[in-house]
Amino acid sequence: MQSQVAQMLFRLAWADGQIKQSEVELISELLEQRGVGLAQRLAWMDQGLSAPPASVAMDAPMSEHDRLECMEALVKVCFADSHPQASELALLGDLAVRWGISANQLEQLRRKQ
């Protein structure tokens, strides 16, 4: 589950073709909050942020709670620098549709930022 969330965060960060330092900091913080230890965090980030991922499983996390929690993390990364890129938003929208998250729920998540 944590690995899946991490992969999605990396995928979203790569959506605009570059990794910004603000995204690196935020992803590290989010993984730490989710209980991912320092060594695991560094290993995942070194792999996931050094090159665009070849492919990432985007299956919906199991429970609705997990889905919303994961989407909240993704929204944070998307709005990390307050200027979300169209490609990041398009990916976020795709995931929301795929995971059955309504525009209203998405909007509420954004306002939490």
Partner: protein, 328 residues
């Protein structure tokens, strides 16, 4: 319904966006509170903090305002109003590609859409009164394209070329298509993030096809990152020591975090190591990671090699090494 700011009437509330009518003028961009009956006709008065986003004066006095609700409201309070005011003259910012033989470079971008016409951003000048068929490239709407006759009613060419056109629908069916399109863009514009998401799709100058829903998505369409792109990963831990396995060549680096937990990183096939300042300072703030250029394969062996540097807060290099991708 009464509020601090005067008499207001809720006309529509969806996705956290409130449309209201007020006799008194409100300040654009301001945050205020209103008392509204939600949903209308229930007699339940709710005090709602809002931010005023747009204003339109109404014939016969009063103003129509669109505002963002600055709190979380239960979904059951939302309602779709049917007041004719909601449908009149509303202009919506869009970014839709359009084509026509008569336009400079045969193309334009629709920047603003209303029920009667639209605004075009052009690559050159056009003349007022020009009539032509405008082809709109639509995405997400039930039609992929819409070819509608238009007439140029207004031109502007100070620092860039723009014109306003009015729609001249061919028949009742096309009139309905235009109305549907207006509903579509208005509806999408009426929801904060949804607006951004849809603008990202509608507006992408080189839009990608709508993806099906596979379990695995393709890699992002990106420029290849430079091979020596540098990553700075936050660490915030104390370096406790390192050991090397002479058989595998792996270097193991141990850290202690503020909660006194020990973490070990493995740097497989470590080829080079330089201990800079660890004796003087062991507090690591960041780990700098960089892929070595492909030419280095001749020196270190085939495959990708990474250069890592543990940095102190001020950026001093404490420990530097070259190895394969690190492992937990």
């Amino acid at each position: 319904m009464f509020s601090r700011v005067g008499l207001v009437e809720a006309l529509d509330l969806r996705n956290g966006n409130l449309t209201l009518r007020s006799r008194k003028r409100l300040t654009l961009g301001s945050r205020t509170q209103v008392r509204v009956q939600l949903p209308p006709g229930t007699g339940k008065l709710v005090t709602v903090p809002i931010i005023i986003e747009s204003e339109r004066p109404l014939q016969g006095g009063g103003f129509l305002y669109r505002a963002v609700v600055d709190t979380e409201l239960p979904e059951q309070l939302e309602f779709h109003g049917d007041d004719p005011l909601l449908r009149q003259g509303r202009r919506v910012d869009v970014n839709i590609r359009a084509r026509a033989r008569e336009l400079p470079e045969f193309r334009a971008i629709v920047t603003d859409y209303s029920r009667g016409g639209c605004q075009l951003k052009l690559c050159g000048p056009v003349k007022r009164g020009l009539r032509f068929v405008l082809n709109l490239d639509l995405e997400g709407f039930r039609l992929d394209t819409l070819a509608v006759p238009v007439e140029v009613t207004r031109v502007h060419s100070a620092d860039h070329h723009e014109c306003g056109v009015r729609f001249i629908p061919r028949d009742a069916a096309q009139e309905r298509d235009l109305q549907d399109l207006a509903n579509f863009v208005e509806d999408r514009a009426g929801s904060g993030l949804q607006k951004l998401l849809n603008q990202a799709r509608l507006a992408d100058p080189a839009p990608v096809a709508v993806r099906p829903a596979p379990a695995v998505v393709a890699p992002p369409v990106t420029k290849a990152p430079p091979s020596n792109e540098t990553l700075l990963l936050p660490v915030k831990a104390r370096l406790d020591g390192y050991t090397r396995n002479l058989t595998s060549g792996s270097l193991y680096v141990r850290f202690v975090t503020a909660d006194e937990v020990i973490h070990t990183l493995e740097f497989p096939a470590c080829r080079w190591l330089e201990d800079g300042e660890t004796a003087r300072c062991a507090e690591v703030a960041r780990l700098r990671c960089q892929t070595l250029p492909a030419e280095e394969e001749e020196r270190y062996g085939p495959g990708q090699w990474r250069q890592y540097a543990f940095l102190a807060d001020e950026g001093e290099v404490l420990l530097e090494l070259i190895s394969r991708h690190l492992k937990a």
